[in-house]
Symmetry: C2
Subunit: 213 residues, 2 copies
């Protein structure tokens, strides 16, 4: 018996794959990677668990793909802000504010992307995406130095420092203990505070003119 | 037949456990967590693989314990430097220089601790140890602000930013691609450059007096 994979079959496969990824992202948005189990996902999609493995070899591979898709949206949004209008300092400021606000408004997803303990395949993607963020900041720093707005020497190193600082500044406020504190009405920093603190930290660190006034 | 766990038996168990951990750390120092397989470790220790599981329920649990032991040494070393003699800026400087130098002289271990993709149990420990580092920096920042040496408001946030910046500044130079570049004689930053760049970044970011001169 000979099988022929028709175009219609390929389209159906692609559509099902996309539906799986969309449902997987929904699970991560709602409950982090911890909520992304193959059984629950298969139920959401309305297929047998075994069918998931026709599209993704393992949960790690699926999680990595969800991570990459969600992270790429953040990279694109940051790129738009950093390349927008204004001085280099203004763009750094608005990029940071936007990044923090986006994280704040989707806290579980942001924590999942930045720091949730998860499969090594996701950690691999984290390293790659941190490089993508560092490249974006590197371009802005390069421009800022050329026009005399930023005062620094090792652009690559400073770009990496910014990426690390931003991630770590948000991990605490986004982490489950902080969320619990907020929900229980205990004092916890606001988005405005975190965002302002991060902007000051980064502008100073890159030797931005306005930061030393 | 009644068994009695004698003290000698408990001592033997403890000694074997310590030997397993020591061998496991050696493997991570030499080849990162990727080199920490239960089979290879059992061979090193000279016991059956099954015996490892009498001491550690899983590879992830073992890896997490190795991680914690190695990280605690770094935290202790950093604490000693940050609490040593000198002004707050001098102590921040020497703590950073020492941290970078220790990482540089044990690059595989440092990369394994900071960023190597690995079991979620290790990621959990990473989050905990980053908090421990942040506490150390927080104490120094607190003191620096009180004596008027540092100029900043949100100590917890800035401490987290420092931890993130330091980790990310080192990830690139310590990563496998950078090691390969160095070994192939291609240009790559030196410890002195990375260390100096990191010190400047951090002193500026905390509003240290000397950084704005």
């Amino acid at each position: 018996m000979a099988y022929r994979i028709t175009e219609a079959r390929i389209d159906r496969d692609q559509a099902q794959r996309q539906r799986i990824l969309a449902c997987a992202l929904e699970r991560v948005v709602a409950g982090g990677f911890a909520a992304l189990t193959m059984q629950a996902l298969a139920d959401d999609v309305g297929i047998a668990t075994g069918s998931l493995y026709r599209h993704f070899r393992s949960k790690g591979e699926l999680a990595a793909e969800v991570f990459a898709a969600a992270s790429q949206r953040e990279v694109d949004a940051l790129a738009a802000a950093l390349r927008g209008p204004g001085s280099a300092s203004e763009r750094l400021r608005s990029g940071l504010q936007q990044f923090a606000a986006r994280a704040w408004h989707s806290r579980r997803l942001a924590f999942a992307l930045i720091a949730e303990p998860v499969d090594p395949e996701v950690d691999e993607q984290r390293l790659l995406y941190r490089e993508a963020y560092a490249e974006l900041f590197g371009d802005l720093l390069d421009e800022g130095v050329r026009i005399g707005e930023f005062r620094l020497e090792q652009i690559g190193l400073v770009a990496a420092c910014l990426v690390g600082a931003i991630a770590e500044a948000l991990v605490g406020p986004l982490s489950p203990p902080a969320r619990a504190a907020r929900e229980a009405g205990r004092p916890s920093p606001s988005l405005a505070q975190v965002s302002a603190g991060l902007v000051t930290f980064c502008l100073r660190a890159v030797g931005a003119e306005e930061s030393t006034r």
